[in-house]
Symmetry: C2
Subunit: 168 residues, 2 copies
């Protein structure tokens, strides 16, 4: 839809600004959820695995020193899911183990077992080319530009969010 | 972190491509979840309302003709939440009503009540400036560029996903 740009007063401009940002936010949300949905679908059809389960294993893979349940829950915020339930299942299947925490005797650390690491490795190797394929509509230069714009967005959002938090 | 670009063989390049797309995907996911988290926080502190509840009302606001439960659940995929549970609560609070469907006697349509429309209107009016503020780190030109890049991404992702779906 092409728009004819005309001189507008302050209120119309404000509304335009609103619309531009809101439209952008909806577009961002749509892209994320489309890609997430496709990855979710492929994980299910290829490996019979749910996205939260994949994400949980991927968090543990990135933290071989182990993660406390609270840390894991915080890191899983994006895809949610019942962290405790998924963990119990993975422990039962011998993919994840609970290890005593050296720092806190009442807590334990969650880690991938060697079998868990192998299983996750297979899925991750399949997962990467999916992401490449899904972003293949953009040239390398466009990807760089998108990455830079999102970097600026991220920095600003972090500043705004921090600014809001009342000093503890 | 600055990178020195060197001539690389095909395998290294392939890995670079992978990393570029995967890094981009993680950046996209991070931006979305940071903004979503901030909106979630503000809805909670300002209106004592959860994001899924806000999204459910926003779906109904966009569809004054009413939505079937199945349609509503599909549209709520992004932020999830227990659609039936939230709907029951909203009906009980007089913000949503169940209306007989003219097309299907066994189904009903969910609609906002006038009170629901008023309540949602207040939240939406507060919500828009938040989004404007969160995207304020980008100039208008950058917002346009980001929007265009995401449009290209969306188109490609839709093509890839459709292509995958076996003909019904």
């Amino acid at each position: 839809m092409s728009k004819t740009r005309t001189r507008t007063d302050r209120e119309t401009r404000a509304t335009d600004d609103h619309h531009q940002s809101v439209r952008l936010w909806l577009r961002l949300l749509t892209c994320t959820s489309l890609i997430e949905g496709e990855v979710r679908r492929r994980l299910r059809t290829t490996f019979g695995v749910t996205l939260p389960r994949y994400d949980l294993m991927s968090q543990l893979e990135r933290h071989p020193e182990g993660l406390k349940m609270t840390e894991l829950s915080r890191r899983m915020m994006v895809t949610g899911g019942n962290v405790t339930g998924i963990t119990d299942q993975l422990v039962e299947e011998g993919l994840v183990l609970r290890d005593a925490s050296p720092a806190d005797r009442r807590a334990y650390l969650l880690k991938l077992t060697p079998k868990g690491r192998r299983t996750f490795g297979e899925m991750a190797r399949a997962h990467e080319p999916w992401i490449v394929e899904l972003f293949d509509g953009l040239s390398d230069a466009e990807k760089e530009r998108l990455h830079a714009l999102l970097a600026a967005l991220k920095t600003h959002v972090l500043t705004v969010s921090r600014h809001d938090t009342p000093p503890a």
